[in-house]
């Protein structure tokens, strides 16, 4: 019996096993594990809670207690888009409740529920800390200020087409103002080593047996630091200096045809950088998990 149980560990929920292993011995592990499992699965299904209990050695009751106590966790499946209306005091006195009612009417669900087509989950928050802009609605990480019932329909239609659309439209040239590794979320821009006066992207590079650190200009994407003959990104493999995740994309640059490097820019846009100087914007759905998902789809 014990062996059978042992066999099933990791086999039924390999994602949970990996997340739990990464947090072994760390403080507040249970909350952090549940958060990551929810990010991966979209919510906390029963089998995931059981797997978390097994892998952390906590009882299922404990795990369920934590999962149901904190508002951030959802035990029900969630929609593709999350619409969160703030009901903090400042938003409340400016009519936040009417905004929630309008959202509820438009979506046909109550706060805390998901539309039957799985598109939207409607949530309310006690305060999102953007009180000067109230009433505030946050859709997939994007903040909408001074919302009233009349603006609700437009916000929802924007949500359907993707709210994280950056200033530059799809395919336009862009400048990277803030870049994090799509995998581990740690920053890639280094202000201490500027190129052309701007922080450069720090990466680990590998090319024809050479290994080392290289810099990419955030202005035009030109690689600096790798050996001369490797100047074209095509022959260089790039990695995140923090987590060593590969940064080369399978997507090729439309101008010169070499593989591009993907980074997440500040507004959640996925920016594809290429050594030929072209930086193209591609829309990502949301910052974080959603963008990661989009990268996965591209590659």
């Amino acid at each position: 019996m014990d062996t059978m149980r042992g066999d099933t560990i990791g086999a039924d929920a390999p994602d949970v096993a990996a997340i739990a292993a990464a947090h072994r011995g760390s403080r507040a592990a249970l909350i952090a594990i549940l958060r990551e499992v929810q990010a991966a699965r979209g919510y906390l299904p029963e089998d995931a809670l059981r797997a978390v209990a097994r892998h952390t050695g906590r009882s299922l009751v404990d795990v369920y207690a934590v999962a149901s106590f904190y508002h951030s966790f959802s035990l029900k499946p969630r929609g593709r888009h999350t619409v969160c209306a703030c009901l903090g005091t400042a938003c409340h006195v400016r009519g936040g409740q009417q905004v929630v009612e309008a959202l509820s009417r438009e979506l046909g669900v109550r706060a805390g529920e998901t539309t039957p087509d799985g598109e939207f989950t409607l949530e309310t928050a006690n305060c999102l800390g953007a009180c000067a802009l109230g009433p505030v609605v946050v859709v997939d990480g994007r903040y909408f200020a001074k919302v009233n019932p009349g603006k609700v329909r437009r916000i929802l239609s924007q949500a359907r087409s993707g709210v994280a659309a950056p200033e530059a439209a799809d395919g336009e040239r862009a400048l990277v103002t803030e870049a994090v590794c799509p995998e581990c979320g740690r920053p890639l821009l280094d202000a201490a080593r500027p190129i052309d006066g701007y922080p450069s992207l720090q990466v680990s590079a590998q090319c024809n047996g050479w290994r080392g650190r290289a810099r990419i200009s955030c202005v035009d994407g030109v690689l600096d630091g790798a050996p001369e003959n490797a100047a074209a990104l095509e022959r260089v493999r790039l990695f995140c200096p923090h987590c060593s995740a590969g940064l080369n994309d399978l997507l090729r640059c439309g101008e010169c045809g070499v593989p591009t490097v993907s980074v997440l820019a500040g507004d959640g846009a996925l920016v594809q950088m290429c050594g030929c100087g072209e930086q193209r914007v591609r829309r990502a759905e949301v910052e974080g998990a959603g963008a990661r998902r989009e990268i996965a789809q591209l590659s």
């Binding site: 592990a29 934590v66 409340h92 006195v93 009417q98 803030e178």
Partner: protein, 614 residues
């Protein structure tokens, strides 16, 4: 950058960074905290970069992306340093003109700030909103890019740490005590005394310092702004705390609703570690201290010390009985000191200025400045920093510019769900811990929600009770059921189903909950009810006796109608989800009250103010 191995190394690096001349050239400063970003600050940043490149001004005009400066309502804004030219609500297309002018030492007059019909004001420091503040902490946000430790160092950062290391533990604690700093989280416990208690605890197994950034009070966001805008100040405050108390581990507990704060503070910790300002043997001394970020998961009660500790331990955030106090038995049973974000942010200031100069601002027993989030029905909303002891009137009228429209300001709510509402007649009250408590509210963490004639005080009380009912952890029966019952009664009153006896019952319940619960949440839960009953009893009685809501907020008691200002444009008719509005084109429309759901849609779409709610 190499790791620093001595205090001299740190001083040399600071000097080198300050001497680079980056701060002498005209610099475009763009506040891009969460509120700035919500208003398009990142678009401005991109536009600025493009313009700087196109005009070949890189190196001659600097660009600094910072956290929030406080005037959130005017964002996205641009500040041109060092002159201090302030441009509110800048459109991306205007960036070229602003940069062009900055390069020639000019200003773009038509983009400057103007107060209503008033004259245009060139410099930020001359705008009343800023001029009447004492911006000791907030003022630093515009000096640093929070993602660059170099900026913090160049503006004098980590000098307080060096001073603390030179002074040694006891003088550091003595200095904090002498400053008179009191906890900015709300209760106002003397910070120095708390530090002394931790310093006296045996620390063989280690001691913890916690930064409480679980800013749960709705309507307050000072802590978010501090973490987003100047995270190194918090780290430095905690490092000074480690010197003073002998703590070796630090935790910053940030609420999950603040993703940008979490990111900036995590970046700051990594940068400080890389420079050897966190970790083992800091700057070659015996000090070893590291900080970890722990994210909350959305539970208001976790702002309470003992619940916070349990949440840090990865458990359900239920408070426990005290004593033992956290300073005796905290995280993992080790002595733990918990201070609020703003408290930590004040520490470097005390070490730099000295206790006497720090205490020169404020009043006796309430030293230093306090940041408030001035929001709600007030003309100028944002974060304001004033000396302790400033009056409510100064903050709301002089800095905030008074009411938004024609409706007069009626009250201000301070202290979040644990606080109360103070009527306009008492706006001469000085803002300090003791005066606000005496008036039936509390200082709290610094939320200040202004309410005008269109705010119903019964509805406000009902709102807070609904909040507390939801957030009560349920451990104490009287809190769990008491908040629920009070909410039901208040709900009845807002629906016109209240009776005069209800008010007596509310007062009884309020006292019972106050006296028989274990933690701060329950003990203060009655404040919103008691303070509104104390100052606005008439409004309650109006609901009960006449079934009328004077502010026209309580849905069950109001009716919607269309007055003679109607032009018959049909906007409301098309927008009405209940198809309750009828009327021919260019003729006055009518609302069918039987079908009207009172959703408010018609009010928001009407351009002529023709929909009346009464």
């Amino acid at each position: 950058m190499r790791s620093l191995s001595s205090v001299e190394d740190l001083a040399a690096l600071r000097q080198r960074l300050a001497g680079r001349g980056e701060r002498a050239i005209p610099t475009i400063v763009i506040p891009a905290g969460t509120c700035g970003r919500a208003n398009g600050a990142l678009d401005l940043v991109r536009a600025a970069k493009r313009e700087l490149l196109a005009r070949e001004l890189v190196g001659r005009i600097g660009l600094r992306v910072t956290g929030c400066h406080g005037f959130c309502e005017m964002e996205p804004s641009v500040l041109v340093a060092p002159h201090g030219t302030f441009y509110p609500k800048v459109a991306s297309e205007e960036m070229g003109r602003i940069i062009g002018a900055a390069a020639q030492d000019r200003v773009v007059t038509d983009l400057l700030f103007a107060d209503g019909e008033g004259e245009r004001i060139e410099r930020q420091d001359d705008i009343p909103f800023f001029a009447r503040q004492t911006r000791r902490l907030l003022g630093r946000n515009q000096e640093v890019d929070p993602t660059r430790i170099e900026d913090y160092l160049a503006s004098g950062g980590y000098a307080a740490l060096a001073a603390a290391l030179a002074a040694g533990p006891e003088p550091v604690v003595a200095e904090v005590k002498a400053s008179g700093l009191r906890g900015r989280g709300g209760a106002g416990f003397p910070t120095g005394a708390k530090w002394e208690m931790l310093a006296r605890q045996p620390g063989r197994r280690g001691k913890f310092l916690v930064c409480n950034a679980d800013e749960g009070d709705p309507g307050a966001y000072m802590d978010r702004s501090a973490l987003e805008g100047n995270p190194h100040a918090i780290l430095e405050g905690m490092l000074v705390g480690a010197v003073g108390t002998g703590a070796n581990e630090g935790v910053i507990y940030v609420r999950d609703e603040y993703p940008l704060a979490i990111r900036h503070v995590s970046m700051a910790i990594r940068q400080a570690r890389a420079l050897g300002l966190l970790g083992e043997r800091i700057l070659g001394t015996d000090l070893s201290f590291d900080i970890e970020v722990v994210r909350g998961a959305g539970a208001f009660v976790c702002g309470e010390e003992t619940a916070l500790i349990r949440s840090i331990e990865g458990k359900v955030g239920e408070p426990r009985q005290r004593p033992p106090f956290p300073v005796q038995r905290g995280i993992d049973g080790k002595p733990t000191l918990i201070n609020n974000v703003e408290t930590w942010a004040n520490i470097p200031l005390i070490l730099e200025k000295g206790a006497a100069e720090f205490a020169a601002v404020g009043t006796q027993g309430n030293s230093g400045t306090k940041i408030f989030s001035l929001v709600g029905k007030v003309k100028r909303t944002g974060l304001v920093e004033v000396p302790m002891g400033a009056t409510l009137g100064e903050i709301i009228h002089d800095i905030g510019g008074g009411p938004v429209g024609a409706a007069a300001v009626k009250a201000v709510q301070t202290g979040g769900p644990s606080g109360g509402c103070i009527p306009a007649a008492r706006f001469d009250l000085p803002v300090d811990y003791d005066a606000l408590t005496a008036a039936g509210s509390i200082m709290g963490s610094g939320g200040m929600i202004v309410m005008d004639a269109h705010t119903c005080m019964v509805d406000v009380a009902r709102y807070f009770m609904g909040f507390l009912k939801q957030e009560s952890c349920g451990k104490c029966f009287t809190c769990r059921k008491g908040t629920q019952r009070m909410h039901e009664i208040l709900d009845d009153i807002t629906r016109g189903e209240g009776s005069p006896e209800h008010l007596q019952l509310l007062e009884e319940l309020a006292l019972a909950v106050k006296d028989t619960t274990m933690c701060g949440l329950g003990q203060t839960a009655a404040n919103p009810v008691l303070s509104t009953l104390r100052y606005f009893r008439e409004e309650y009685l109006e609901h009960i006796r006449h079934g009328r809501c004077p502010a026209a907020v309580c849905k069950a008691l109001v009716t919607y109608s269309i007055n003679e200002a109607c032009t018959g444009c049909g906007a409301c008719r098309r927008a009405c989800p209940g198809e309750a509005i009828r009327g021919a084109s260019k003729e006055r429309h009518v609302i069918d009250s039987a079908r009207c759901t009172k959703c408010g849609m018609c009010v928001t779409v009407c351009q002529f103010g023709a929909v009346a709610v009464a």
